[in-house]
Symmetry: C2
Subunit: 487 residues, 2 copies
C-alpha cells in the first residue's frame, strides 16, 4: 500500500499504480517495436480520453518514461520515443592489476586520441566537448568579458590572489542548491577546470603507495594521474543503471584496502548514466562510516535531462568526507577553464595545496562568469542545453542503431552528451580506432577508460555537436568498419 502524499506538488503519487500500468504498457510497446524511435506518443488529452484516465495520471506516466530516458518532451509538440539501444552491462570480472604497463599504454593512447581530435581534417566523433559553440553563450560571455575588461582593467593588471571573486563563489553556491548541496562561498576554491580540482583532491588525501577505488569504466585522465601520484588503482564494477558497486566498495573499505574513492555518480563519463539516489545516500554513509574521502566529480551533473535535478552524493554528506569537484567547462564556457571544488573537512588543506600548486585563477574570467550567473541567464541556458543534448543523444543513438552491426549495445544516458557503446563479439575497438582514423574519423577506444585496459570492444561516442551530413556519413562509415570486423 502506497502512503498517501498530501503535498499537492506530488499529487500524482496517489495514483501510482495507474500511471505505472500505463508506463509499463508503453515501455512494452517500445520493446516489441510497436512504438519505434522518433514516434510521437498520443497527446496527453487523447490518451486520457481513450483510456479513461485523468490528465494527471497520463502526465505522470509520460514523465516517468521521460525520467527513464525512454521518451523526450519537445515543447509545443508532445512526447516522442527516444532511440532504444540496450544498456550494456560492463565487464565486471576484476582484472589483475598489471597496472603500470597498462597505464603507460593509456597515456600513449590519450596522446594519439588528442592528436587525432586536434587535426582540422578529422571528423570528431569522440571529443567530450562541443566545438563551434552553437549551444554556448559565447557571444554573451564575450560581450561580458569585453565590457568588464574595459570597465575594470585592474582585473588584468592587478595580481590575482586567492580565493578569487566573491560574486562567482556566491553564484556557485546558489546553483549548487539545485543539486541538493548547501555550500557557502567561503568554502569554494576556484581551480583551473575540474581536472585541477581532481588533482588537488587526490594529492590532498593520498600518499604514494596508497590505493584508490575507481569506477570501471572511469574518466580516462584519472588513470595517468593516479599513476603519477604513485597510487594503486582498484576498479569497481560500475553498471549504467546502478552506478558503482557499493557492495564491492564496502568490501574494500572493510578490508581497509583503499584510502580514497573517485567517482562520477551523476551523469557518468563515459557511461552517460547516473547512480540512483538511494545508492548515493549509501555511498555518503559509507564514506562517513569508514572515514574515507570520496572525491565526487560532478562535471556533468547540471546537464541531467530531467528536472528537478537528482542530488549529488555531497548532498548526503554528513561528516565532510565528500570532496566535490566541478567546472563550467561542460555547462557554460568550455574555453574559460573555470573549475571549482568544495573540500568538506579537507578544505583548509586544499586551500593551502592550491596556493603552493598554482596560486590562483585569473580574476577576469572568474568575474565574467560571476556576472553571467548573476544575470539569471544560466537557468535558461541550461534548459536549452539539456533539451539540445537529449535530442542529439537521441539522434546519435538512432544513427548507431541504423549504422552499427546487430548486437551493438549503447547506454541510455540520463544527461550530458556521451554514449558508451559495446560492439558485438569479434570487434576490437583499438583496431577500429586505427581504421576510423584512416578515414579521418576520430573515436575513443574503450580500453582508455580502465587501468587494466579492459573494454576492448567498447567505444565512447560524443553527441555534443549538431549532426551535419559529414557527421552522419562518418557514423555510417564507422558502423560499416565495425561490421567488417565482426563479419
Amino acid at each position: 500500500m502506497m502512503p498517501i502524499v498530501t503535498d499537492s506538488s506530488h499529487s500524482y503519487m496517489r495514483e501510482l499504480p495507474l500511471y505505472q500500468t500505463l508506463a509499463d504498457e508503453l515501455r512494452g510497446a517500445m520493446n516489441d517495436g510497436r512504438l519505434t524511435a522518433g514516434a510521437r506518443l498520443p497527446s496527453v488529452r487523447e490518451a486520457a480520453k481513450s483510456r479513461a484516465l485523468s490528465i494527471n495520471t497520463v502526465l505522470a506516466a509520460y514523465r516517468h518514461l521521460e525520467s527513464c530516458g525512454l521518451v523526450e518532451a519537445r515543447p509545443q509538440a508532445g512526447y516522442f520515443v527516444r532511440a532504444r539501444l540496450a544498456s550494456p552491462p560492463p565487464a565486471l570480472a576484476p582484472a589483475p592489476g598489471s597496472a603500470r604497463t597498462a597505464e603507460v599504454a593509456v597515456l600513449n593512447r590519450i596522446t594519439r586520441v588528442v592528436a587525432a581530435q586536434s587535426s582540422p581534417d578529422t571528423i570528431d566523433l569522440s571529443l567530450a566537448t562541443p566545438r563551434g559553440g552553437d549551444l554556448y553563450p559565447g557571444e554573451k560571455l564575450a560581450r561580458l568579458v569585453s565590457e568588464l575588461a574595459r570597465r575594470q582593467p585592474a582585473l588584468v593588471s592587478d595580481y590575482s590572489l586567492p580565493p578569487g571573486p566573491l560574486r562567482l563563489r556566491r553564484e556557485i553556491c546558489r546553483h549548487a542548491a539545485d543539486l541538493g548541496m548547501a555550500l557557502v562561498p567561503e568554502d569554494i576554491l576556484l581551480t583551473n577546470g575540474c581536472m585541477e580540482a581532481l588533482q588537488l583532491a587526490l594529492r590532498a588525501v593520498t600518499r604514494p603507495g596508497d590505493a584508490i577505488a575507481l569506477e570501471s569504466p572511469t574518466y580516462f585522465n584519472l588513470i595517468p594521474l593516479a599513476d603519477r601520484l604513485g597510487l594503486k588503482t582498484i576498479e569497481l564494477p560500475t553498471h549504467p543503471d546502478d552506478g558503482l558497486s557499493l557492495d564491492a566498495l564496502e568490501l574494500l573499505l572493510s578490508e581497509k584496502r583503499v584510502q580514497a574513492v573517485v567517482c562520477m555518480p551523476t551523469v557518468h563519463n563515459p557511461l552517460g548514466t547516473s547512480m540512483p539516489i538511494a545508492g548515493k545516500k549509501r555511498l555518503a554513509e559509507l564514506a562517513n562510516q569508514y572515514r574515507i574521502p570520496v572525491i565526487e566529480d560532478a562535471l556533468y551533473a547540471e546537464l541531467q535531462y530531467t528536472t528537478p535535478l537528482q542530488p549529488t552524493v555531497k548532498s548526503f554528506d554528513r561528516g565532510g568526507w565528500v570532496i566535490l569537484c566541478s567546472s563550467y567547462t561542460k555547462t557554460l564556457a568550455p574555453g574559460l577553464r573555470v573549475g571549482w571544488m568544495e573540500g568538506g573537512r579537507f578544505q583548509r588543506d586544499l586551500t593551502e595545496l592550491k596556493f603552493c600548486s598554482s596560486v590562483a585563477q585569473p580574476a577576469l574570467l572568474a568575474e565574467t562568469l560571476g556576472l553571467f550567473l548573476e544575470s539569471g541567464g544560466y537557468a535558461h541556458h541550461l534548459r536549452r542545453l539539456r533539451r539540445a543534448y537529449a535530442a542529439r543523444i537521441d539522434r546519435l543513438r538512432g544513427l548507431i542503431d541504423t549504422a552499427f552491426p546487430t548486437g551493438t549495445r549503447a547506454t541510455l544516458p540520463t544527461g550530458g552528451f556521451l554514449v558508451w557503446v559495446e560492439l558485438p563479439e569479434g570487434c576490437n575497438a583499438d583496431a577500429l580506432f586505427d581504421a576510423a582514423l584512416a578515414h579521418n574519423i576520430s573515436i575513443t577506444p574503450g580500453n582508455l577508460y580502465s587501468p587494466s585496459g579492459r573494454y576492448t570492444r567498447h567505444i565512447r561516442l560524443s553527441g555534443c555537436y549538431a549532426f551535419s551530413d559529414r557527421h552522419v556519413h562518418a557514423l555510417m562509415t564507422l558502423g560499416e568498419l565495425a561490421a567488417r570486423q565482426c563479419r
Copy 2:
C-alpha cells in the same frame, strides 16, 4: 697584463685599468659619503675633460658602476648615485633540517601574510606584485582581450585544448632569445602562472623521499610545495653577489644527496640580485655532468635593470637538464596568470603531466598576450618597467637608509622590485611583523624564506608600488618599530 681585445664592440676593454681606476675612485666617494644617494655624477663630457680621459673610458666607468647597481642612468639627465645600503651576507651555517614542523610553520605564516595583504586597510610593503597597475598596460590588454572576445567568441565557447595558441608560444621563443635561450614553440608548455610550472617540474623529476637543493633564502612557496610532494630540502648558502654556492652544490651532487635543484639565478626572490654569468655556466655544466635536473625560475629575469640582459642558466644547457619556468605575471599581466615552461629532456613527460593535472590554459588570455607581444609593445613596456622599478627600488633603499636603525643592511638589486633587508642584532622579524600589523602595515618576515626558519632578523620589502605619502609614512613607522626592538 690585460689581454688586448680587438672586437670594436668591446673597445673600452683596452683601457680597462683606466676606467677601473675612475670607477673605483667614484665608488670610494660613495662609500665615504662624498657622493650621496641621488647625487648626479659629472657629465661624461665634463669628467673626460677634467680628468683628461677619453669619453669611452668615462662611459665604461659609469656603465660599470651602473652594472654594479651603484649608479643609474636617467635618459637625457645623466648618471645618478643610487641609495647605498650594504649587501648583507646571508646566514650560511647549515641548519639541521627538523623540517616538517618548520614547514608547517611557514605555511601558517604565509596564510597570515596573505590575509594581511588582502585586507583593504593594510598598507602593503611586502606583496611581490603591484596593485593599482600604474606600470602595467592594463588598458591596452583590456582593449585587446575585449576586441578579441568580440571577434572570436569561439575562444570563450570552444574547448581549450593543449598546447594552446601558437602565436603566444612563438612570441615566448622570440623574447627568450633576449635571455640567451634558443627555444622552439613546439616545446613551450603553457601553465597557470610560474607556480604551476614549478609544481609540474618538481613532480616530473622527483619521487617522494627524494631530496632537493634549494637556495637559502628561497621563494617561500617552494617550501610547502616540497613538503607536500614528500621531498626533503637542503639549503644552499646563497650570497647576493655570487648566487647559490656552487661548491656546496657540487659536494651534494658528488655525494648523490639531491635529485634536483630549484633556483632563481637571475633576479632572485627575495634577494633581488643575480648570479654572475660564469656561475650560471658552471651550474649548467654541473647539471649536465651529474645528470641532475635544474629547475630554473626565471620569473623576474626580464626585469633586469641593464640591457643587454644577462643570460639564464638554460642558455648554457647542453644536455637538456635545465627546466626553465617563467610567466608574464610580473612583467606584463599580473592578473592573467599566463605562465610557461620549457622542459628540455623532460618535455614529453611534462606535457603528459600537465594534461592529467589541469589539461590546458584558457585560450582567450593566451591569445591576448600573443597579440600584445606580436604588436611590439612589449620591448617598450619592459624598458619603462625596468627604469621605473630601478627608481622605486632606489627610493625604497633610500627610505630604508633614513628610517631604519643603524646596522640595517639591504641587498642591491640588479632587477625586479624586491629588497632583502637584514635588521641589526636584537631585532626579530616575526615580532616586527606583528607590531607592524597592529599599525596596519604588512611585511614579509625572513624566516618564511627558509625551510629551517632561519633569517629571523630579515624581512623582504617590495618596491613595486609608487611611493605615496602613506607608504613613506608606513616605512618610517616600520623603521621606528625596528629601532625600538634593538634599542
